[in-house]
Amino acid sequence: MHPDVSEIWNWLEQVPDPEIPVISVVDLGIVRNMTWKGQTLEVALTPTYSGCPATSVIAMDVETALRDRGIDRICIRSKLSPPWTTDWISEKGRKRLEEYGIAPPRQSGGPEKCPLCGSKAVERVSQFGSTPCKAQWRCKSCLEPFDYFKCL
């Protein structure tokens, strides 16, 4: 007997993103699908950015988490289509990002407010930031720089 897929989803909610550890790989929308094929668990993961170095680490972390729970026949494959979008970040994930100091992505292309003081007076410093998924912004009220999760 193998565990139910819905239970496995709960397990993977404990696997943190290696670069932004406050958010899980599930809340980031990287785990796309899980199904049992006989005794093998098939897991489809999607990369955030093509060149994101975290992608292979995430696959390893997911595999380790599953093995820790006693699943030893695992097939992890990369699913490119449909391409990952920041719309797949869960509500919970967006909240965790903001609490962590990273403004969550918005369709308008910029943060709603400073994640540190809540001021809406913010300006962009650069379209790129410390990782492929982030841009650099600055708050004009508290003067602190902060990361903005790019909308993709």
């Binding site: 990369p47 950015y49 093509s50 060149g51 994101c52 170095p53 490119l80 289509s81 449909p82 391409p83 990952w84 410093v125 650069s126 379209q127 790129f128 930031g129 410390s130 990782t131 492929p132 650099q136 790019k150 993709l152």
Partner: protein, 253 residues
């Protein structure tokens, strides 16, 4: 040449463009004019490297000769590379790098947009994924070209010089050869010449906003994407990029 052969050639072109330009941009790492620019160039390079991996993975799969994307990237020599001459041009100053980037990005977004409708679902999905990144790249490179073109007299003159110098490398992006025509016939890829109007629209708008004079020469250097005549610069890029495999053949991570 067989249909698979043409598709392999085409996939190497897409992969090698991203790989060589990614390598070029990486040369700025640690020496860009500002920290933000340094980070932006490195991130753009990273996106391109990821795209190169997807294209060359598929090329290796289509070739079906037991080679991997790593083999293609690290074990081919100059004449086996299929990148456009534009992307192997030296970086020059920051304005030159960003002009080259803008010219490439403007072609790249048009190409990827069309490729997202390819009859080969594998090409379509890599393109749909890459197109999102390319749109972000062109937004930034266009903004930088405008900022520097419409900047100080010094930055303006450097941008005009860069544009004039790089112009003769634009034509190759829109030149149709036999591989392109075969790909178009099989509905796998668009004819490059059909991408020109989309490119021109963006180019005119940006160059005008940058207060630059668009070059008009029709001469185009050819020979990169078919591998017949790479410039001397590609060999130097490869000596750096492939150094590890050359010094320690077959070494693994």
């Amino acid at each position: 040449m067989t249909a698979g052969g043409d598709e392999f050639e085409f996939l190497c072109r897409m992969g090698d463009n991203a790989l060589v330009l990614g390598q070029r941009l990486s040369e700025w790492c640690g020496s860009a004019p500002a920290l933000e620019e340094d980070i932006a160039l490195a991130n753009t390079a990273l996106d391109l490297l990821g795209q190169a991996k997807m294209w060359l993975d598929l090329a290796a799969e289509v070739e079906d000769a037991g080679r991997t994307s790593d083999d293609l990237a690290m074990k081919r020599d100059v004449m086996d590379f299929r990148n456009l001459l534009l992307v192997e041009r030296p970086n020059g100053d920051f304005g030159h790098t960003m002009t080259r980037q803008f010219l490439f990005d403007s072609w790249h977004v048009e190409m990827l947009k069309e490729l997202a409708d390819s009859k080969d679902a594998r090409i379509a999905e890599i393109s749909a994924k890459s197109a999102k990144e390319a749109r972000y790249h062109v937004e930034r490179s266009a903004e930088t070209v405008i900022g520097l073109g419409d900047g100080t007299p010094e930055s303006h003159s450097r941008m005009q010089t860069a544009l004039n110098e790089l112009w003769s490398y634009v034509g190759e992006m829109f030149h149709d050869d036999e591989v392109d025509m075969s790909m178009a016939r099989s509905k796998l890829a668009p004819l490059p010449s059909n991408l020109r109007s989309g490119f021109d629209r963006r180019f005119r708008k940006v160059v005008e906003a940058a207060t630059l004079i668009p070059p008009t020469g029709a001469y185009a250097h050819l020979g990169g994407k078919n591998g017949i005549r790479h410039t001397e610069h590609l060999g130097h890029i490869l000596t750096q990029m492939q150094w590890l495999q050359r010094a320690y053949p077959e070494s693994e991570w």
